[in-house]
Every structure is written in C-alpha cells, then in structure tokens.
C-alpha cells in the first residue's frame, strides 16, 4: 500500500507515494537526499533526528512519513540562507559546540526551535530543554555556550 503524501520541506513542495511504515527520517535521508538529519538510536532517546514540523521540534525517527501530510518541515539543510550560515550554525563553530558532528544537526534544530520562541533562555533552562538531545563528545559545555552566544547574536539582529 502506498499513500500519497504532500508536504513542504525547506520551503519546497514534496509529493510522494510512500509506504506507510517508513519513518520520516528515512524518507528525508533517502528519498529527498537530505542526509543531514541523523539516526543515532532506535528508542527515541538521542534526538540526532530532530527536525522542525509546523514550527515544533520533533524526533523524525518517531514519526511516520505519511503523518507529514499537509505539514511544513524544516531540516538542518534549510536553515542557512543563500549559503550563508545561520547565527546558530556560526555560534556552534565559534564556541566549540561540536566535535564529531553527529549529534550536531539535531542540537542545532532544537536550538533553532527554542530561539524561535525566545532569545532569553537561561543556561539552566537550556540544560533542561536539551534533555532530548544526547552528545557523547563535548560534555555539553560547548553546546550550551554556542546556544547562549547565538541568543546574543540573534538579539542584535
């Protein structure tokens, strides 16, 4: 059984016939060649697969692609504008927010979602709001520094 599913990804229209069992993350990575969204676990813990659907950060490994019908999706590939890095991306580079880079797209998308709501998160609040994003390399310090710095950059904009 294939189900016709229409949605937007990074501003572009997508119209696909999809097997219902396929996860959104796999359709993004394979059918749309957007391999920036990563799969780090199979129990909805790690958050490496985080994308934004209708303005909310969600774990794309725990959504069926067919559920995306009618929705507006933003992935890591979609946040830079005309090739120019988004302030959050710049902040991650400048503040040591990544080492191996595997958790990074998920971290950045969660940060993007948080900063789209407010740019005055405290570090304590950020620590709690990152509970759905795991990192093994950085110990989270660089990531927190990056997001706090991105807040400053975005406030100035």
């Amino acid at each position: 059984m294939l189900v016709r599913t229409r949605f937007k990804v990074n501003g572009g229209d997508v119209d696909l016939n999809i097997e219902p069992r396929r996860l959104l993350v796999d359709v993004l990575r394979e059918d749309l060649n957007l391999t920036g969204t990563h799969v780090g676990c199979d129990t909805t813990n790690c958050g490496a697969c985080t994308v934004i659907v209708d303005g909310k950060a969600i774990k794309s490994c725990t959504m069926l692609a067919v559920q995306a019908d009618g929705r507006d999706i933003l992935t890591i590939e979609g946040i830079s504008s005309k090739g120019e890095l988004h302030p959050i991306q710049r902040a991650f580079i400048e503040k040591g927010g990544l080492q191996c880079g595997f958790c990074t797209p998920g971290m950045i998308m969660t940060a993007y979602w948080l900063l789209s709501q407010r740019t005055d998160w405290s570090e304590g609040e950020l620590r709690r709001m990152l509970s759905g994003n795991l990192c093994r390399c950085t110990g989270y310090r660089g990531i927190l520094d990056a997001i706090l710095y991105a807040e400053e950059l975005m406030k100035k904009r």
Binding site: L23, M63, L64, T110, G132
Partner: protein
C-alpha cells in the same frame, strides 16, 4: 528497527475513524505515535494497520464546562504546558507534563495516546487517579464514561475496546482549599520513572484534611491508589508526622519493582519521601487562592 508492513488510513472526522475501526478488525489507532511508533519499530506490536486520528479537530480542544475541564485526547503535553486554562484551572496537569519525557516528545505525544497505552512507566495515570478524572469514550453506538479508577486494567491494557476511541478526558477545576501535586522520581541521568507520587488534598473549614487521594506510579505494575493511606489521613490536621505516616502506608503497598532499575527497598524509601513531598506541595497549593 523498522516497522513491519501495515495499512494506513487518515480519516478527517471522528465518525470516520470509528467506522474504520468497526469495519476493519486489526486496525489500531495512531495519535502522536510516541508510544506506538517505538513499539512498531521493534515489532513488539504488528497490527494489520493504523487509523491516524491526528487530523481530527474535535479531539484537539480544551473546554471549560462548568466546574470541569474537557481535555481533548489529542492534546499534546506541550499544549498542557502552555495552555492558559490548564495553568489557571488545573495546574497539576502542567506540573506533571513538565516532568514527562523531553521537549521533542512533548511536542507530539498526546495525553490520550499515553493514557491508552497504559505503560506502567508513564506518569499520567497516577495523576488521573488523584484528579478522579473521567474518560469519555466514543464508540459507534455513542459515548460512554469510565472513571480513572476503572480505566487502567493491566499493564498495557485499558478498558477501551478495539473499536473505540478515547475522545476526551474530563478533569475537575481546582477550587480554593484544594490542592494537587505530582512528583516524579528518576535516577540521575536521563531515564525512566522509578516511581512517582500524585496527591490531592482538600482542607475543610476545621483546618483538617476533608478529602485526599494518593496515587503512586509503580512500574512494573499499573499506578495504584492507596485507600489505606487516604482513609488514615482524612480528618487529621496536616503535620510532618501525619504526612510521614500516610506516606509510609501508601509506599508500603508497592508490589514489586524492576530489579534492574531499582530494588524494592530503595524504591520504598524514595517513595515514602516522595509522597511526603507531594502531599506537602498539594497542601501548599490548597492554601493558595483559586487561579
């Protein structure tokens, strides 16, 4: 890692969803999917297909009806956190939601979905118990109500029939002199509930406890209410000793634990302290004016 092949239907209306379930045995309901999809991925469940109710508007409302609030079953934890009616009229739902899962899962996971999943690790059933909430269930022949005490049967099983859909959860508006609380306990890094304590206290004109409900999140069993502890506390004035005693009674009813997550002794000790905290918080909330 990946779900088995399955069928998929996406009705626009509740009536359409009910029809699909009635006419196609073997289809199950997909709400937010935060419980179901992991189970599909590991093939712990391999249903014939899914009825995706995620687009059904009637299930996405929060309405004040007299001294009750009707929360649509598709209301997400994120909405519970941000909704004004909930914040002012029944804040324990918000307090509990804030302790559940993580932000991404809360953005998608629904109250109804997690209640119907009835995983003993989940926190909301205990909260439903102390709210004495009613589940409003839609079937092809109309609606029926089941109170929280009767809704959760076994781990992973509720009284919902395969052709029914949980439509709304009805909870009381918190009035003054009433207070609710939920305290969850998990170990240091990210993790599952070891235990949790939900409580409700109402204070009478004489300053003593006129009513109370104490419910415990108790994996691997379903959440339980401790009638023993409740009956003991009713009529007494709130004091440290009274709360301790009630907590010990309630904690003592814990059946078993998952030994690979925590021993019974440890959980019992934690639970005693946790119930005291929960009762204290509920008592404090009872002393605040109605929002």
């Amino acid at each position: 890692m990946f779900p088995a092949k399955l069928e998929y239907y996406r009705p626009e209306k509740l009536s359409g969803a009910l029809e699909l379930l009635d006419e196609n045995p073997g289809l199950i309901v997909l709400a937010g999917g935060q419980s179901l999809i992991p189970a599909l991925k590991h093939r712990r469940t391999t249903p014939r297909g899914l009825v995706d109710i995620g687009h059904i508007r009637e299930l996405q409302r929060i309405e004040r009806v007299g001294n009750k609030i009707r929360v649509g079953s598709l209301i997400t934890y994120a909405t519970l956190l941000n909704n004004e009616t909930i914040a002012s009229k029944q804040p324990v739902l918000r307090e509990a939601a804030s302790q559940i899962a993580d932000p991404q899962v809360r953005n998608v996971g629904t109250l109804g979905g997690s209640l119907c999943w009835s995983d003993p690790l989940y926190d909301m059933p205990a909260v439903m118990h102390v709210l004495n909430s009613s589940m409003i269930i839609a079937g092809k022949d109309g609606e029926r109500r089941v109170d929280a005490g009767s809704f959760f049967k076994h781990p992973f099983r509720t009284t919902l029939r395969p052709d029914e859909i949980l439509k709304e959860v009805e909870v009381p508006v918190k009035s003054s002199s009433e207070g609710y609380a939920y305290h969850k306990f998990r170990k240091g890094s990210g993790g599952y509930s070891i235990t949790g304590a939900a409580s409700y206290i109402s204070i009478g004109d004489d300053g003593a406890v006129s009513n109370c409900r104490i419910a415990v999140t108790a994996p691997p069993s379903n959440a339980y209410r401790s009638a023993k502890a409740e009956q003991w506390l009713i009529g007494k004035k709130v004091s440290a000793q009274a709360l301790e005693q009630a907590a010990e009674l309630a904690a003592g009813e814990l059946k078993s634990t998952d030994p690979y997550r925590a021993s019974w002794n440890y959980t019992n000790s934690v639970l005693t302290g946790l119930i005291v905290l929960s009762l204290k918080t509920a008592h404090q909330n009872a002393s605040e004016a109605e929002g």
